[in-house]
């Protein structure tokens, strides 16, 4: 009596080329799944980042703002308490609807004899546990970022001292041409703007990104307004619809692709693995009949076939995980350069691969092996 493990190893060694091909195919199936999983996740991440970089698409302003004045001037003439951001962030479920909450205070000012826009930016608040970097500028007190057109007029360069309505600021950065009213804007810290404008502890709006990611036909605005009504009743939200809609559509498309590609790849890999396992059993039907003819028990015969499937599956899972991760880490950063650093090995995929690859292979081997062992040995021996 030879042990099943010894028989499995002898068979693998003797048919090393076939075993190598089977192992390669199984490894490729696992690697494919790992690559698709990592790259679709990377694609989703990249999409989220790119659409986020489109900018804020929600503006939370005082409820009593005159809409006509708001759209004519580009900002609310009213104000909110500066702690509105913290109150909004602290509200239950706030981050389900809003993120990257950035308080600001905007007004027109006179600067060197002409009008300019002054924007004081407070520190952004992001959703807990998301590890997202805040959007926009984080300007230290006493410093200023100058828009492109304004900088040309002021002949501003980094280090230039400015006197803005009696407050001394130093130019920290000159911004590149934006093609928007940002080009005539002077960005400062929120504290500096409040001091310049004589509006301590006040803000004129909170800029945010909506987290619902619903398209216009799904009416996100009603949900955003309902959420804000509970959290910050003295305010109202305005959605920059075209941008929000484009963002939502792009994110939804990325999510749909991932939701389609990963299960499809899983199915393909499973079918591939099962086919290989079934072919292996079919190719060995005569041997299976011989073991039966020699009086070997069904359990022992099944252990030979299932053992081989499980052994190959385990090795393929490990190699496939390593290969797939390696491929994704090599090519992913080139495909998704904006979020390249986010492409990391998913260690949870390894136990899944170690479970699924041998599982599918064993399951697929089990059925033909059991059919063969329940037949009369003579039938199986005559199979070919």
């Amino acid at each position: 009596m030879i042990s099943p493990v010894s028989l499995i190893l002898r068979e693998l060694r003797h048919h090393r080329f076939n075993a190598g091909l089977a192992l390669f195919a199984l490894t490729a199936a696992v690697a494919l799944l790992v690559v698709v999983r990592l790259l679709t996740t990377a694609a989703e991440r990249e999409t989220r980042r790119v659409v986020r970089d489109l900018g804020f698409n929600l503006r939370i302003i005082p409820r009593d703002t005159d809409p006509e004045q708001f759209f004519l001037t580009g900002y609310s003439s009213g104000t909110l308490p500066a702690d509105s951001v913290q109150r909004l962030a602290a509200g239950a479920g706030a981050f389900l609807s809003f993120n990257h909450l950035t308080p600001s205070l905007e007004r027109r000012i006179q600067l060197e004899g002409r009008e300019a826009l002054l924007t004081g930016l407070g520190r952004a608040v992001v959703g807990p546990g998301e590890g997202k970097q805040p959007m926009g500028f984080n300007i230290p007190d006493g410093k200023a970022y100058v828009g492109h057109v304004l900088a040309q007029r002021l002949q501003a360069k980094p280090g230039l001292a400015l006197n803005v309505q009696g407050r001394a600021l130093t130019v920290e950065r000159v911004l590149v041409e934006a093609g928007t009213d940002d080009d005539i804007r002077l960005f400062t810290s929120l504290g500096d703007a409040q001091a310049i404008l004589g509006l301590p502890d006040r803000i004129s709006e909170i800029k945010a990104i909506d987290c619902l990611c619903l398209t216009a036909d799904q009416d996100p605005l009603t949900q955003l307004r309902q959420a804000l009504e509970k959290l910050l009743p003295e305010s109202r939200v305005i959605q920059m619809r075209t941008m929000a809609d484009a963002r939502a559509r792009q994110r939804q498309a990325a999510e749909r692709v991932a939701a389609f590609a990963v299960p499809l790849t899983l199915l393909v890999a499973a079918a591939w693995t099962c086919t290989l396992a079934i072919l292996n059993v079919r190719n060995r039907r005569q041997e299976l009949g011989l073991w039966r003819a020699l009086g070997t028990s069904s359990t022992r015969i099944a252990s030979l076939f299932l053992g081989k499937a499980i052994l190959l599956g385990l090795v393929a899972a490990l190699l496939g995980y390593l290969a797939g991760t390696g491929i994704a880490l090599s090519f992913g950063p080139r495909l998704f350069p904006v979020t390249a650093a986010g492409i990391q090995p998913e260690h949870l995929l390894l136990p899944w691969a170690l479970l699924l690859a041998p599982g599918f292979a064993a399951l697929a081997s089990f059925l033909p092996a059991m059919i063969a062992v329940t037949q009369d040995p003579a039938e199986t021996l005559r199979a070919d």
Binding site: I2, R10, Q286, R292, A293, L294, S297, D376
Partner: protein, 229 residues
């Protein structure tokens, strides 16, 4: 020892059923060397496989040492084959990835030290000592059949069933096979050999003629005495 009664076995084809055995009844006593012969397709192999518990008949009964193998569960039938039957196939049916020694060991129900010692004896007695590490693909037909024979003999079954055991062999190897089977019979074993030639006649205690699935004659014969190998 072996008894079959009104055995019938048909094989289904796409258009109709082909008769393999038709109402075959046969009794074989312990220590007999029965040669079953007949033209190709007459049902010889079907009879042998049915006796071995490897091919269930459509009707009729078989008892081997008082046991009907087809009344047993699949697991019990496997144990019955492992315990009671040594089978030698025409096409050898060796495990391709096992060397000579392990192919013979593979036939043993247990690897007791005595059984392993018997394997070594059969390897030596059948002239396979130099080839014991060789794989089946590197063996000649005669060597393969000697391995198959050693596999059947090493487990010391009470019955050996051999299906055309010398069909692919030269006269020298044929003589080795039949002499070993004859020695097995003289040691108390029962042998049933299927063949369409006459090489086995000198060893037979009985010659059964099969035609179109039916036994047409069953004649006693006087075997030649045991020759030391």
């Amino acid at each position: 020892m072996i008894s079959c009664s009104h055995l019938t076995r048909q094989f289904a084809t796409r258009s109709n059923a082909v008769a393999g055995l038709v109402d075959v009844s046969l009794d074989i006593d312990r220590g007999e060397f029965v040669v079953v012969q007949g033209p190709s397709g007459c049902g010889k192999s079907t009879l042998l496989l049915s006796l071995a518990g490897m091919l269930r008949p459509n009707s009729g009964t078989i008892t081997v040492d008082g046991v009907n193998p087809y009344s047993l569960s699949a697991a019990e039938r496997s144990q019955f084959r492992a315990r009671s039957i040594g089978f030698v196939f025409q096409l050898f049916h060796l495990v391709p990835y096992l060397d000579v020694r392990h192919n013979i060991l593979a036939g043993l129900p247990s690897a007791s030290p005595e059984a392993v010692a018997r394997v070594e004896t059969w390897i030596r007695d059948l002239g396979l000592s130099d080839r014991q590490d060789a794989f089946p693909t590197t063996l000649s037909a005669g060597e393969r059949q000697r391995v198959a024979l050693a596999r059947a003999l090493a487990k010391q079954p009470p019955i050996i069933l051999a299906d055309e055991p010398t069909g692919s062999l030269d006269p020298a190897n044929s003589a080795i096979v039949f002499n070993q089977l004859n020695a097995f019979r003289h040691a108390g074993g029962t042998v049933v050999v299927v063949t369409h030639g006459h090489e086995a006649h000198p060893f037979a205690t009985r010659i059964v003629q099969l035609e179109a699935g039916r036994i047409v004659s069953s004649l006693s014969s006087t075997p030649k005495p045991l020759i030391a190998s």
